[in-house]
Symmetry: C2
Subunit: 216 residues, 2 copies
Amino acid sequence: MKPEKISEAVVRRLPVYLRYLSELNSTDIQTVSSQELGRKLDLNPAQIRKDLAYFGDFGRKGVGYNVSYLIEKIRQILQLDQPRNVALVGTGNLGRALCNYNMKENVKIVAVFDSDPSKIGMTMNRLTVQPMSELQETVKEKDISIGIITVPAGEAQKVSDLFVSAGIRGILNFAPTVLRTPDGVRIHHTDFTADLLSLAYYMDNEDENVSDNDQG
Amino acid sequence: MKPEKISEAVVRRLPVYLRYLSELNSTDIQTVSSQELGRKLDLNPAQIRKDLAYFGDFGRKGVGYNVSYLIEKIRQILQLDQPRNVALVGTGNLGRALCNYNMKENVKIVAVFDSDPSKIGMTMNRLTVQPMSELQETVKEKDISIGIITVPAGEAQKVSDLFVSAGIRGILNFAPTVLRTPDGVRIHHTDFTADLLSLAYYMDNEDENVSDNDQG
């Protein structure tokens, strides 16, 4: 609601809150404090209160947050009440893993593409793999707004360009390469190796980094 | 080198710099400015200079960074000169995708486990799938320090506990659930749905969020 720009880090944490709140909700837990959320999600409770305060005054002091109300609010903020259709390009192991992933929210993979002729016509989680030549038309037909790229690094830019020219404005890239997109197109890179390599940093630095400015 | 605690966000960006610098290096480009890095990686050049300044004074004004020197430094910081062995539990599509992933750095998956008896003995990228009962011993034998979890949400905590009791101190969790680990064990959650759902936020807010405090 506020005109203020919300940082990416905050927006990125909202789905994490949402998932855990949904877990709580399914076990009939009705309120949760920022302390409990913080402990469970390994986040600073003050950070959590600040994140949620961006969007309105949800919590009550000494009581905590009403779980189902907070779920509803976060879903509103992320605009998950409206369905969001997704196209995926690349039917390797990762593409298949994503297709089979049980998305609980309204964001669904509704079309799958591959450039390899031998993959066309295969079925992946009830979707038939289509040739790249059908991408543009299918994006319009199925009102697809998000594209996922799970092709090898060398092919990713071409796929990204096709997505953009088909009118897609949000791309989730799993290919291990940096892609160029025009202004107005949002691209998120999901990078296993970065996660893994940054863990390596902490393996030997953990002790010396448990410093006294932990409140920062 | 500095006793200062480096933020996770910075550590998380170093492998991203490293990858792009390696791409540059392979095309014989010898220097790069923070402006060029920023344009390519969609990051603020001032942010990049600040990130790299944590670790020492690498760049020279008006010249930029020496690519191969910066690669060497980042690899040192992330301690990638020493090999880091990784165990993976879960041989579904995602586990297979990770096994087949060409890790250019010294961080390698050297053992794969599954609890499903029908998977034991299968070969994945030259590794033979082992039963969970062999995890503890293999971790010691192969000097494994990092564990990857790609099992369904309901089994993930059990796997995490096994990793911890085997002495693993770094875990990369792909299961869509929050895991508890004791102090001293570092856990990173990689969360497709969070990436995807946070994209949804930007789909309709992009225009109104291109605000004038873009320098912030």
